[in-house]
Point group: C2
Chain length 334, copies 2
């Protein structure tokens, strides 16, 4: 059974391209409020579950012991653009752990925010691991280790005590695999754990409400949500969907993207969690799918509705600035 | 009826993402040698039919009158990387037409080849229309106009005499629309004309063999194929699929990519043309689909088979260089 087409790309008077996918919206008990496509097949939620991966940083007491700020906690959940503020914040987290950038094991890549990448080239500098979109998450792992007196080196391996905690948190929250074919390696070298969208959505309903979580985990989840809502630029960056959506909705919508077309969200006021994946892994489609889910579920003021509109029918312009096409939600998301 | 999954993306022990699509392989009479998915639905073949769009440049006598070189003819068919050789060649074409880069109406964008883009930033220069991947095609349109004493300004409009010839050639070769909902605007601002994959494939069978073409068109097609085979770097560039495939196969395989996941080819020795589209518009999938079609159809020497292998199962590496996944042909392409 193939998943339904949920996003169409228009050009001229025709549908030029199509994106199929699956969407799960669940409550904290796992009841499915919305299920489009196959929501029971395991998928890799990738960076969309960074909030779950950051739970041990809070629960272990490391964030308090090292005096991490709200902005630093937000960066621990980020897929950031490598902008100066992101690099400075990751650097500060590492300093609090008593180490420097050489402790990062995520690998280096050019800032994903184009202007930051260009500035680096103009300055004649090479990108470092601090520019890696996952450097905040990795700095969080290193903080977790150092605050507990654990040697951080090798923290990306499944057998490292910090990564065991991290993988345990993802397994608890999302019913994710901890071994076998459902464990792959992510772009930043840590394990990525497959889970069904339905289970991930249930996990985000719990993350958003604290329901079915122990008191310590519920407090950690609330603290992470508050940190990201207060610092939406930290979690992604300039011209980024996650940042702009949370600038509109604040604490009402925690949204987080992941590679290969995954997107997760928590809407605390509704008690719902969301997990979706575009089959083909394309971000333009996963973002539109998330915008459509927000539009369908969240009660919107007139201003919020207007602000959401450009995410629902984004225009495609050519190199002369002429609008040549657009995207739209399709099928059951239309 | 949805199209079949033709490409799978693997991570851990799971299929992480899937690309559906359609493939038509036809002979010059339009007989379908291979038809996967819906090959009768009109699609925009985008830059994959630049070879058809360049026919008037040759047939009008403009290429001869202006003394265009083989490399310049190859660039007229290109989606190039904006590398220095591409920019210099486009500049030379415009000079032969008696104009300069200000005559280009394609718009400016950064070179698509990253190292060329970085060199431009380091030099403190802005990208110009010469760096646009379509600048050679546009230079060809301008040459066609100027050699005939036609004012080139406005050549991107469907009503311009040169664009009428160009659209007529695409309509003749591929059964493409010349008006109505099947005409959109391309990234470089010229019209893009929808046609069924089956008809586009038949057009490339004719382009590759000259069958069912008048003698003048057959000669023009052969001249374009020879130019591209002799200058595969001109038609795309460094680290580009089209260039590398034609460096392997020379005149035996004319291959040309287009935006939104289209790919076309001509295999003259077999008398076949190919047109395919990945439904979701992703290039990683359309390239793999084309590699799989080549592997299925073209007789390969041992060396050619080995050279093709890395295009058939490309590895995905993370930022530490660890192999974390791979792509493979799937379903009827496996």
């Amino acid at each position: 059974m193939s998943n339904p087409v949920l996003v169409e790309v228009l050009r001229g008077g025709l549908v030029e391209s199509r994106h199929a996918g699956a969407v799960a919206v669940a409550d904290a008990e796992g009841g499915l409020v919305l299920a489009l496509g196959d929501v029971e097949r395991p998928v890799f939620p990738r960076s969309a579950v960074k909030a779950f991966q950051a739970l041990p940083l809070i629960e272990s007491g490391a964030a308090d012991r090292l005096g991490l700020t709200e902005a630093e906690i937000a960066l621990a959940v980020a897929s950031h653009g490598g902008e100066p503020a992101h690099v400075e914040t990751a650097t500060a987290m590492l300093a609090k752990a008593g180490v420097d950038a050489s402790a990062l094991e995520c690998g280096a890549h050019r800032p994903s925010y184009a202007k930051a990448a260009q500035a680096l080239i103009r300055a004649g500098l090479k990108p470092s691991a601090l520019h890696n979109n996952c450097s905040g998450k990795h700095a969080g792992f290193i903080c977790t280790a150092c605050a507990a007196g654990i040697e951080p080196a090798g923290y990306i391996a499944a057998a490292h005590p910090v990564m065991r905690e991290v993988m345990g948190a993802v397994a608890d929250m999302a019913g994710a695999a901890t071994s076998g074919p459902g464990v792959g390696i992510d772009g930043c070298s840590i394990p990525t754990q497959a889970a069904p969208l339905a289970a991930v959505a249930r996990g985000f309903a719990r993350f958003g409400t604290g329901a079915h979580l122990g008191p310590e985990r519920a407090r950690a989840a609330a603290r992470i949500r508050a940190a990201v809502a207060a610092h939406p630029h930290m979690v992604a960056g300039t011209e980024r969907f996650c940042t702009e959506i949370m600038q509109i909705f604040g604490i009402r919508a925690f949204v987080k993207t992941g590679a290969e077309g995954v997107f997760c969200a928590a809407f605390p006021e509704l008690g719902y969690g969301v997990a979706l994946k575009c089959d083909d892994g394309t971000t333009r489609a996963s973002e539109l799918m998330m915008a459509a889910v927000i539009g369908k579920l969240l009660p919107l003021s007139e201003g919020e509705g207007q602000a959401l509109q450009r995410f629902l029918t984004p225009a495609m312009k050519n190199w002369n600035g002429t609008e040549v096409g657009s995207l739209r939600p399709a099928g059951p998301l239309a």
